[in-house]
Every structure is written in structure tokens, then in C-alpha cells.
Subunit: 223 residues, 4 copies
DNA sequence: AATGAATGAGGATTCATTCAT
DNA sequence: CATGAATGAATCCTCATTCAT
């Protein structure tokens, strides 16, 4: 009764139950590359190795793919970073260094980077999704950092800066580095650069660009 | 309904020569808000106060609007910033401060910010446009900065850091600040924040987050 | 989950032979309610308590459900009514009254009414099905009636009318009554109305709406 | 500048401003013939002599065609019939005859008949449209008739029947006649039959099927 | 120059039907 | 027998582009 498996007849294969995840993987790649609007559901299907109609077995609409993408990405992203910070005590510079290196490694992974890139692109079109990301990721992470810095200041480890604004001074360079590379393909001369970027930045961040040991004598004070 | 076009009537005359610019203004706003694909030519026309068909009198296609947008934005952006840097001499920190403050002011203007935001969104879909922006803006500006930093190091004003990577430490926080605000509506507590961000960042950038070589001796220990 | 099919277990056994009928029941209800095109095979399956694929074990296509529906409905409908008429003799008014009351009762049953309603809806899309109904039901029943009336006229019981057209005068009001109720939910004030409709109609049908030859002499003039 | 009108290039014709009505005409015919679901917008467009997209210039959705169809049909249908009845006085039989003949003529016109047929088909799928028809047409017309009959009874012209149910006895035969013809193609032997149907029905309606002048003597009273 | 009606290719979504399990 | 995942043709609707006026 069962017809022989002709190699030329690839219809009606049934694959693992990981299908929804494969669809999301395909959608993520295409959404990031071409944008949500310009990506066709059929392309997502083809990339996931299924038919157009099958996408709708797992997701009720194209938009639901966006939502699924963000939902899937939220938990792992946050947990890893925050767990590291929670253990911190003493000089916050060690913690900041560790977190920045951790983040740099994580964001070096294209798969991890993809969702933030997608949200960056599509936030104006999907305000509620950006809102989810904001409340689930940023609203979790930023206060932790803020406290870390505030505590560092209170304990005398750090200069009395504005903690909330300082977060941008800590993280911003990594963001700029990624964006230059991703958007314009601009990588510094000299191979894999994220690690070097982080180390260079940590020096500036903690000790400053200036050379003078004696502040106030800066102007024209050099031998 | 339409009154005859009297050449001497200064009110409500439509200057035909300004039309393409008005179309670009409309396109820019909508592209940034909704993305290129999701913006309809008819909406651009309506916002520009003309008819759908008239858009095609000035631009041969929707894509040409993108190109026109980027071409129009390139010259003014670059010139302003680079002119300031070219004149610099002596301690580069003054120049860096000035440029950063200048940039912060410029990017505080939504009209100036719009094109970079658009390119950020649509770069994957319009690689050649991103390429134009890269070669016309970034490839002009980054080396100037790099030289500024390199010279500052050579002249003993700055710590011996990697100039190319350090640009990211200088500019990144401003980028991060803008993105948090634009994408997620995240502004720090306490009103207009870009100026405060820049001042806070300049302190960290030049002097570092750390207070001294000997933490713990910090509390009230400075003479 | 499914218990083994014990032949001796009378509860919750699914009688395989009854399955097609259950599918038809489900299809009939949905076809009447939503129309053929707007009814999904999956909904029929769910209502019949089986899976989508199983529908195709009993019926080769969706259209075959329509055909099965009409075929199933034909025999019982016709036989009941015609048997009554065949036995008639003498004054046909008694027979007409009986048949009309019988028909009204039958059509008061939603299950009996369903197929005619379905045919009414879908006849233009399924001409061959309408044709079947016409030849199997109408072509059987109408001539019987016609003869009944013609005989009544010949025997002097009835006014010399056109028998073929008169069938419409006999049956039409019942049809109108059903349609008003089914299509527009329009029922007369005062509860269950089909019986009253029939009795009211029989009076008019046999004796006429008019009171006498000499209107005006009518008020209280009958002995 | 204007290219010659090549007969083979039928693009971009512009026609009269009667376009929406032509679209409705096309939609009505196809909806009645094939049902709403089974009719493709493209078919409507082709029949109206325009392109698929142009349908959406006039109607926002396929469903809006249904609504437009019913809205367009409502006014003329009601007005004609009710105007006739309003003038009635004296023996209502004259009025009833006139209305019935008028109605029969109107419904003999396929264009007039189409919308009621459509509503009959699609009422279950468009309850709100059926509701409109009910309130705009039936709720206007039925009470007028009811009053006519009630007045006829009170004034001694008519037998004391239930006015509301009697409407069905008056109208039902016409409905039945139309339905037999439309749904099953069943026309009586002997040419154009609607007029004959009405005349035959009016005799029965006013004078009854029975022959006896002396009620009560019916059974077995014939010479 | 300006308009906007008209076009039709293109894309999201649905659903009858198939068949591996 | 029964299932329901998978398919892809079919259909609604959108919108960039054209061109008669």
C-alpha cells in the first residue's frame, strides 16, 4: 500500500517537533536582513524547509512571528548578564569589566545579536513589541547597573557621576562598535576587534583619556 | 476652487522649485516612522501636499526617494563637523569636547537625526545607499578624528590608546543615549538630558570613572 | 486513550456504520447555516466528532457531501406525503387539509426543513442537485396534487381553477410563513404560529376572504 | 505626445462616472448566481469591464459590495408598493388585487428580483444585512397590509381572519411561484404564467376554492 | 505641470485534499 | 481505520506605477 520512497518526491516529509523554532530562525534571519515588510512569508517557509501554508500551522500571522521572535529571545538574554552582576561586591570595576566582556562575547554571536538588531529596525512599526523588550530586558537590566554604579560611588570606588547617564558611557562604545560593523561593515584594521575594543574602552572608562595624574594642572602643564 | 496663479500674489504661492524638497521632507518623516516598505507613495504625496502622480514628476521611483534623501543629507552634515576639527591644535580634549557638544546639539534636531536613523533602519535593504553614506560621511569623518587622537597621544596629551577604537568610546555614549530615547522612549529622570549626558560623559572620558590609584583612601581624602 | 473496541460494550461505542450519517448531519447543519462555500470541511469533521482526514474516508470530496445530503433526504420526504394523498377520495378539501397539516408538522421539524433550505440556498451553484430534487421530489408530488385538484373540480367539489397554478395558492402561504421566520426571524405575535397559519389559510383557501356577494349587508346579517 | 489609440491597447480607458453602479450590477448578478463566497472579486471586475484593483476604488471590501447592493435596492422597492396602498379606501379587495398585480409585475423583472433572491441566499451569512432588509422593507410594508386587512374586516368587506397570518395567504402563492421557477425552472404549461397565477390566485383568495354558496351544506350536497 | 483613475503584479492568508504514521 | 501535519492553489486586498485629461 505504501508507495516506494522515490527520492524525487519530497512531499509530506514530517520532521522533528522543532518546527516552530526553525520557522523563527528563518524569520529572524530574513527580517533582520530585509526588514519585516519586505520579507515574504513564502521566503521564510522556504528557508525553514516547509511550505507557505505550514508556517500558519505554527503562527497565526506574519506579525505573530515577530512576537514569537521577541518572546523567545527575552529570557536567555537577561538572565545571563544579570546573574553576574548580582554577585558583585567590592570594587564595581571588576564587575563592570566582567559584564562588558560577557556582553561583548554574547553580542559577538550573530544569533544573539539578531533580535536586538531586529527590534532596532522595527521598533517604530511595532511599538508594543519594543515596549515588551523595554520592560522585559531594559527595565530589568538598567536599574541593576545603576545601583552598581551608585554603590560604587557611595563606597568611594567611583567618581561622583550620574549613574543613569554613566550607563551610556559604559555600554555606548560597544553599541557603536557593533553598529559600525553591522550597518556599514566598518571594522578596525587588525582582525577580530570586539575584544580589543572592550579592553581599550575599559582603560579609558576607568582611568580616562587624559594623562595628567594631577588634575587642575592639565592646561599647558607638560614638560 | 483654485485661484488663478497670479505671479504677484506672495501668499500661498507654491514655489515649483521647492517641490522636490518638500517631497523629500515628507518621505523622510514617513520612512523613518514606518520604514521604507510600509510607507506608501500616496502618503508621501499627501503629506507633501501634492498628488500621487506628481511625486513621479520629480522622482522616477519610490527607491529614488531614498537615494535623494541620502544625497541631500550628505554635504551639510559632514562639512559642519569636520570644519571645526580641522582648526584644532594643542590639547585635543578641547576639540573633542567642542565636537561632541556640537554633535549633540545637531543630533538633538530631529531633522538632522532623521537621515541617520533612516539609514540605520534600511541599510540592509539598500546596501548601496549605506555604502554612499559610509564613503561620504564616515570615511570622511572617522580619519579626521583618528588623526586628532593620534596627534594628541603623540603630543602627550592623551593616554596611549588605540585611536580607531577610541573613537567609539568618544561617540558611542551619545549614540546609545539617542537610541535609548528614540527606540524605547527611555529618557533619564530629570528633563532634557543630552547636555547633561555629554558633560557627564566628558568627565568620564577624560578623567575616568575611577577616583584614584588607592581606592578606600578616597572618602574625603583629597587635599 | 481509546479503549479497545469490545463488541459487548454498549456505551460510548462508535458505530462505524453510522459514521457517514453523522458526517452528513454535521454538514447539513453547517451548510444551511453558513452556506456551502463558507463551510470548512474541518468544521464538519469537528462537529461530527472525527478528524478532518476521516471525512474523506466516507466522502471523496466536499461536494460529495452535498450530493449525499440530498440523496439521503429524498426518499422519506416524498413517501410520507404522497401515501396520504393516494388514498384520497370524495371531497378533496379533507385531503388538502390533511396534507397541509401534515406538511406543516413535518416542516416544523428543523431536521426535515434543513435540506429544502439548503437546496434553496445552493441550487444556483449545484444545478444538478437541484435537478435531482426536482425530479425526485417535485416531479413526484406536484402531479399528484394536480390530479387531486382536477378530480375535485370534475366532481364538482371545487371551483373551476387552473390546477397547476392552484397548487401554489395552496402551498405558497406555508412557504412564505417558513421563509419569513427562517430568513428574517419574523414570527407573528402570539406564540407557535404554524398551526394557526394553516387553519387561517384553510378557511381562506376554501371559503375565500370575501364575506358574501353583497358586501355592506354583511354586518350582523347572517341568520 | 498622445500615442495613437491602438485597438489592441485597452489600458487606461476612462468611462462614465456610473462605475460604482456597474460594479454593483456585476456583483449582483454573480452573487445571485454563484453565491457570495464562491464569487471572485476578479470576476465581478471583469464583468464590470474594469480591473480587479478598480473595484477597490469604489468599495472598500467584497462585503461592502453586499451592503451597497442592499442599500441601493431598498428605496425603490418599498416606495412603489406602499404608495399604491396608501390611497386605498372602500373594498380592500380592489387594493389587494392592484398590489398583487403590481408586485407580480415588479418581481417579474429579473433586476428587481435579484436583491431579494440574494438576501434569501445570504441572510444566514450576513445577519446584519438581512436585518436591514427586514427593518427597511418588511417592517414598512407588512404593517400597512395588516391594517388594510384589519380595516377590511372591520368594515365588513372581509371575513374575520387573522390579518397578520392572512398576509401570507395573499403573498405566499406569488413567492412560491417565483421560487419554483427560479430554483427549479418549474414553469406551468402554457407560456408566461405570472399573470395567470395572480388571476387564478385572486379568485381563490377572495371567493375560495369551494363551490358551495351555502356553507354547512357542503358535504354531499351536490345535485 | 498636475491630477487621480486605472492597472495588475505581488503578498498575506485560507482551506480542500493528501498521505505517512 | 483514523489522524492531523503538510501542501499549494486560490482568493482578497494593497500599492507602485502609468497616462489620459
Amino acid at each position: 500500500m505504501t508507495p516506494p520512497h522515490l527520492p524525487g518526491s519530497p512531499k509530506f516529509r514530517r520532521r522533528a517537533e522543532a518546527r516552530p523554532d526553525e520557522v523563527l530562525d528563518a524569520a529572524l534571519e530574513l527580517f533582520v536582513r530585509n526588514g519585516f515588510s519586505a520579507t515574504r512569508v513564502e521566503d521564510i517557509a522556504r528557508r525553514a524547509g516547509i511550505s507557505k501554508g505550514s508556517v500558519y500551522l505554527y503562527f497565526p500571522s506574519k506579525k505573530a512571528l515577530m512576537e514569537g521572535l521577541v518572546r523567545r529571545a527575552i529570557t536567555p538574554v537577561t538572565q545571563g548578564a544579570l546573574a553576574l552582576i548580582g554577585k558583585s561586591s567590592g570594587d564595581p570595576r571588576a564587575t563592570i569589566s566582567m559584564v562588558l566582556r560577557h556582553l561583548a562575547t554574547r553580542l559577538g554571536d550573530p544569533a544573539t545579536l539578531a533580535v536586538p538588531k531586529l527590534i532596532l529596525r522595527e521598533a517604530p512599526s511595532f511599538p508594543e513589541i519594543a515596549e515588551v523588550y523595554k520592560s522585559e530586558v531594559l527595565a530589568q537590566a538598567l536599574p541593576v547597573f545603576e545601583n552598581l554604579i551608585a554603590k560604587g560611588i557611595a563606597e568611594g570606588y567611583l567618581r561622583p557621576v550620574d549613574p543613569e547617564l554613566t550607563i551610556r558611557s559604559i555600554m555606548g562604545p560597544v553599541l557603536a562598535h557593533i553598529l559600525l560593523g553591522e550597518v556599514f561593515g566598518l571594522a578596525p584594521r587588525g582582525g577580530p576587534s570586539m575584544d580589543r575594543l572592550v579592553e581599550n574602552h575599559l582603560i579609558i572608562l576607568f582611568d580616562g583619556l587624559g594623562v595628567a595624574q594631577n588634575p587642575g594642572a592639565e592646561k599647558g602643564a607638560r614638560p
